[in-house]
């Protein structure tokens, strides 16, 4: 039984990263109509920025949680202003190819300087150790990752679904021309939205650094699964991305316990099934 709970916890942690990353992808797709293949590289950059802040600037994990998403978010906004904005109105394929190219360049640069092996990032003192829950041993840091990710996901959902700013975002997703004719600076809002999505990826990178180490290809390994999560949840659906992210993490964890051979493929099998039955994804809407 201990092993089952341990796998459930691993599933929830993976689900946290899936949810944060797929949420960012959903926000970006909803607003910019771009399938952001650079998302994995930006997640990796979040982890590296945390590593640099600690090792070069002596800035600890807690500040990195705030600063890394801002720094990588600004990098994302520069990408949007200088490159992505020119793709407005073009076929999805162009955005996909451009962001894939950006991902390869960013990963290549980091690999050139840091190789492929992982760099260590220590768990902050306040989150070391674990708790015996009776039925299982819970490492504090892992519990923190799950709870913090859930809070960030729900805060993002609240921002988009329940605030005036979110209403601007949702309206601009439907009809950016009209929203702009109401007096809202839509191009600036698109840039900030891309920054928000990228910031969420960087935040996931910081959270992941003490668990998975800091590696140039850490995002490339994860992003394919995250795209499967987004397809299952439905492109552009905020709550769908969050729920599907956590749920698929748990399903993956349970598969590791009950049928380990299928644990690496279960997400893709589910993706195929969902595409066959509901091509727009579980919570997505038709184009």
């Amino acid at each position: 039984m201990q092993a089952l709970y341990a796998q459930l916890l691993v599933g929830l942690i993976n689900g946290s990263f899936y949810a944060l990353l797929s949420l960012g992808l959903a926000v970006i797709f909803g607003m910019l109509n771009i399938i952001n293949f650079a998302h994995g590289a930006l997640y990796m950059m979040g982890a590296f920025v945390a590593y640099f802040l600690l090792n070069l600037g002596g800035i600890n994990y807690w500040w990195a949680l705030l600063l890394a998403p801002i720094i990588v978010g600004i990098f994302g906004m520069i990408l949007e202003r200088t490159m992505l904005q020119w793709l407005t109105g073009l076929d999805h394929l162009y955005g996909l190819l451009l962001t894939f190219g950006i991902a390869l360049i960013v990963q290549g640069v980091f690999q050139n300087y840091f190789g492929s092996s992982g760099l260590p990032y220590a768990i902050p003192d306040q989150l070391r150790g674990g708790m015996n829950l009776g039925f299982m041993f819970l490492p504090v840091y892992r519990g923190w990752v799950v709870v913090f990710s859930l809070v960030v996901c729900l805060a993002t959902w609240f921002l988009i679904e329940k605030t005036q700013l979110g209403a601007y975002l949702r309206a601009a997703t439907e009809n950016p021309t009209l929203v702009r004719a109401f007096g809202i600076n839509v191009p600036r809002m698109i840039t900030l939205t891309y920054g928000l999505g990228v910031g969420l990826a960087a935040l996931a990178g910081v959270l992941s650094a003490p668990i998975n180490q800091v590696r140039p290809l850490m995002g490339a390994d994860l992003i394919i699964v995250v795209f499967a999560v987004v397809v299952i949840g439905g492109m552009g659906s905020i709550m769908g991305s969050i729920i599907t992210g956590f749920a698929l993490g748990v399903i993956e964890g349970l598969t590791k316990y009950f049928y380990p051979e299928a644990s690496n493929t279960v997400v893709f099998v589910l993706m195929v099934l969902v595409l066959l039955v509901k091509p727009t994804g579980l919570t997505g809407r038709a184009a």
């Binding site: 005036q164 209403a167 601007y168 949702r170 309206a171 997703t173 439907e174 009809n175 021309t177 009209l178 929203v179 702009r180 004719a181 109401f182 007096g183 809202i184 600076n185 839509v186």
Partner: protein, 248 residues
């Protein structure tokens, strides 16, 4: 009569100061040249109607004034400020509000969110209680999804949301299209009341019987040009011509 003369002659008859001046306005959709030098004026406090057949260029004229059409040239002055090169968000913030033909109600927003969406650009917008006084149906449907409203209610919502913003110059694109006669009558009463409140309105209509109940002046658009203009008092005398222009 030359085009600019058409624009200026009836405008002088009106009492308010000149608020919008359009000169030699040309516009393109891609390679298609749609407007070929539009000239007209709107005075403060007036209701001016652009009449014309489908595809004449009425909607494109409104969109060009609003800055929505990418390629345009000529001159559009609002309160003596040139806006031909301004982006649509800046134009909106100067006090021009646009209600599109397709109404533009957002399906992902409920009625309250649709109503509160356009930001307040200046003081003097109608408060919510006055808006609900004009459109009582909306108050009862605040939590409904915007696109679940009837056609008439959607049109009311589309007009209501721009009244909040403080914009004093409203451009309404075919507000009666596809609506039942009783709703058209209600929209007419609303426009008349807005005029009394001091709003200036540029209306695009194909239904000149409706327009005649609210408009002070008319311009007829054909093939991307203004081909005639007259005041409401001259409407009866111009009826035959109008039938020919509109093909009715």
């Amino acid at each position: 009569m030359p085009d600019t003369a058409i624009a200026e002659a009836p405008a002088r008859a009106a009492s308010g100061g000149n608020i919008l001046q359009v000169r030699n306005l040309e516009a393109w959709y891609g390679e298609s040249h749609i407007l070929h030098g539009i000239n007209f004026d709107v005075n403060a406090g007036e209701v001016v109607t652009l009449l014309g057949r489908n595809g004449a260029g009425k909607t494109t004229t409104l969109k060009s004034i609003m800055g929505i059409i990418g390629k345009r040239s000529g001159s559009v002055k609002f309160n003596d400020q040139e806006i031909i090169r301004a982006t649509s968000d800046k134009i909106a913030r100067m006090g021009i509000a646009f209600c599109p033909e397709e109404r533009g109600i957002f399906s992902s927003l409920d009625v309250r969110e649709n109503l509160m969406l356009p930001p307040v650009v200046r003081e003097g917008g109608l408060p919510l209680d006055q808006i609900f006084d004009l459109f009582p149906n909306l108050k009862e449907r605040l939590n409904s999804q915007g696109t679940k409203l009837s056609g008439g209610e959607q049109q009311m919502l589309a007009i209501a949301r721009i009244l909040r913003t403080g914009a004093s110059f409203l451009m309404l694109d075919e507000p009666t299209e596809g609506l039942a006669p009783v709703i058209i009558q209600q929209i007419g009463h609303t426009i008349a009341r807005l005029k009394k409140e001091g709003f200036t309105i540029l209306l695009v209509e194909q239904n000149f019987r409706f327009a005649s109940t609210v408009a002070d002046r008319y311009y007829v658009v054909e093939h991307g040009k203004i081909i005639d203009g007259f005041s409401n008092a001259e409407l009866a005398a111009n009826m035959d011509k109008l039938h020919t222009y509109l093909g009715v």
